[in-house]
């Protein structure tokens, strides 16, 4: 089946670019100008980049000076985790401990593990609830006096199972003992209310392509007073914390996508939650022993959704996630096992393992993630095939006895 006919339910991986983004980017791509140049072309480029910075800041509750453009979510996570660690440790050599959730994205996990292996960091893994949530109590217990802690990193919303944590409460706990907190909000922005200033977090990762913008463009929101050692050295374009010629077309695309996603969030979230709830109910009706992973569909945290509105993450006992994915792909339904891939080899989801799920459940999971183009017809397409697909995958087992 060609991709044009495909039922695309993998919006958490990436989501189609919005027409307004495409228009804004193509308009900019035709113009010359380095935003660091002093002449008229440079000034024109800089004006677009800085307007974008201001509008992004407004949409995210930050100040323009707190918006650092990066090459995407992975770079923002690396910069925050390593940069905050280095700056805090260099200011006080006792601060070598990183307090982090084991359900983080690999961009955070692998940065932390790299620091532990190569740069003397000690890691404290936070316990997570069976839903995947990190609680303020757990963070409080892990921090102790906080004197030896370089930073905390807890994601705003989990990319696999969609669980939302209360970042304002977590930031408060960290600040009580003088520790900065970074959050990966790649999945949260545009899906749940995210206000940088109100949340109190010190650094926040976001990226464009999860909300209809281009790939390769991201942001690290970094509080003005936060010290962060650069990863990339050079022209110092971004507050001397990040160097590299600004990709103005990507930045304007990122800005248009973000402002639209934030402006339309409430309406879209309500629509997606209805679709998602119908999807889950329909799947469970056909596969009664399917298990919903993460928080309940109607979960609430800090007065907002406790689960991303477009996220449906299910385990199908006795079936392998990669067999399910392959069978659905062959029937034109595109989703994800949601688990980290090591060079294409399916591994049990580290997120589900962190929530206490057994490896079989972790291996038997599928993530359907809905987004701005999702329709009732997409849900119907899944429900048309899911029963026989699960049955067939169960018969196939895996290459194990």
């Amino acid at each position: 089946m060609s991709s044009s006919e495909a039922v695309y339910l993998d919006h958490a991986a990436t989501t189609p670019m919005l027409p307004a983004v495409l228009a804004a980017m193509t308009g900019q791509l035709g113009r010359v100008g380095n935003a660091s140049s002093l002449h008229a072309s440079g000034r024109a480029a800089r004006r677009v980049a800085e307007q974008s910075r201001e509008r992004l800041a407004e949409a995210l509750g930050a100040r323009p000076s707190e918006v650092l453009f990066t090459g995407g979510g992975t770079e923002s996570d690396n910069l925050a985790v390593k940069g905050l660690f280095w700056a805090r440790r260099d200011a006080d050599s006792h601060r070598r401990r990183i307090v982090v959730s084991p359900a983080e994205h690999h961009a955070v996990l692998d940065s932390v593990e790299w620091l532990a292996k190569h740069d003397g960091a000690d890691v404290t893994w936070l316990p997570v609830e069976p839903t995947g949530r990190v609680t303020p109590e757990a963070l409080h217990a892990a921090l102790g006096t906080g004197e030896d802690v370089a930073l905390v990193s807890v994601m705003w919303a989990n990319n696999e199972i969609g669980t939302v944590s209360d970042l304002a409460a977590l930031a408060g706990v960290a600040h009580d003992v003088g520790v900065p907190l970074h959050t990966d909000a790649v999945q949260a922005v545009g899906q749940v209310p995210v206000d940088f200033a109100a949340s109190g977090v010190d650094a926040l990762t976001m990226t464009g392509h999860k909300l209809g913008g281009p790939m390769g463009a991201g942001v690290l929101l970094l509080r003005r007073e936060a010290e962060c050692t650069p990863l990339l050295h050079g022209g110092g374009q971004e507050r001397d914390v990040r160097s590299g010629t600004l990709d103005v077309a990507a930045i304007v695309g990122l800005q248009v996508a973000t402002t639209l996603a934030v402006a339309e969030r409430q309406e879209r979230a309500a629509r997606l939650a209805v679709l998602r709830d119908r999807l889950v109910a329909g799947v469970v009706a056909q596969v009664p022993d399917a298990q919903l992973n993460g928080a309940p569909l109607d979960d609430v945290v800090a007065g907002g959704p406790g689960r991303l509105p477009g996220n449906a993450h299910l385990s199908f006992p006795g079936a392998e996630g990669d067999a399910l994915l392959m069978l659905l792909d062959a029937r034109g339904v595109e989703c994800s096992t949601g688990s980290a891939c090591s060079a294409g080899v399916a591994r049990p989801s580290h997120v589900l393992l962190a929530t206490g799920a057994d490896p079989d459940r972790a291996r038997s999971s599928l993530r359907f993630s809905l987004g701005h183009t999702s329709t009732d017809a997409d849900v119907d397409a899944v429900l048309d095939v899911i029963g026989p697909v699960v049955e067939r995958a169960r018969r196939a087992g895996m290459g194990r006895r």
Partner: protein, 357 residues
Amino acid sequence: MRVLAAMSGGVDSAVATALAVDAGHDVTGVHLALSPDRQTLRSGARGCCSVEDAHDARRVADELGVPFYVWDLAERFTEDVVEDFVAEYAAGRTPNPCLRCNERIKFSAVLDRARALGFDAVVTGHHARLARGELRRSVDAAKDQSYVLAVLTADQLAGAVLPLGSMTKQRVREIATERGFAVATKADSHDICFIPDGDTRGFLARRLGAQPGPVVDAATGATVGEHAGAYGFTVGQRRGLGVAVGDSRPRYVLGIEPVTRTVTIGTADLAGVGEVRTARPTWTGTAPALPFAAEVQLRAHGTPVPCEVTAGDDGGLRLLLGAQQRGVAPGQSAVLYAPDAERGDLVLGQGAVLATA
């Protein structure tokens, strides 16, 4: 047919997949990750299923527009092929891991899973001909792989598609070049995929440890040396015996006795065998009535010899060779062919060599 193409990342399976698409099959590509600790980059012609190999396979699948997945069969492969390989050497035998992989992984674990998922067959890039259930040698004698497929049963062969048997390796590379596959000039793989440095004796020594024992001269019964492990030897081996027997005549390994770890060596006149006994055979089709005349190939790339196939003990076979053969190692497969110059020798079946006389 809906077929699953096993894509190693090499040129053979790439072209086999392309030909399956051309033949009108509904093709899905799958790369088998067989090693528990996959390397990022391929090192020379050895090793297998590195991340780079998976990338090469994926590139071809993407060019052909077929779905592509990686299946992790490392656990099965380790258990059924690698551990079997070590155990066979420990028991004084000389296994063929490629044969074992075809028997238990590609045309068992993979085929079973493929069938369960709704596929009709598995496509591989093996050089052998398969038509109407008959397995025959490749037209390219130098690349013929029928020996390592002879263990497949009729049911397994019914689920196999081998598109390359009627063409030479050179033609396979030409097709890959014509199609612009980046793997067109990729080196052939050699040796044993899970021993990337090619040092089988070193691999076995790491797995089995030092197991010193005597080297005995068959003519005199005298101990003429000591070895570090009988697993370092294969019946028929001439080089690397590490002993001097007084005269300059070459010596060959005649036998390996695992319990006393005795390696027996002797001169060429003692190394020939005229009779081979096998374990219970497998047949590619209906079991033929015994006795019958056939040709037997006693190791990969060996020269076939005429033989009389008769009933042996415990359901095994007793093969009376038309000419004395050296280097018939227990553990190797005795593959039986019906000579057919025009259509390619027909594979009848095989039995694992148990003993010789």
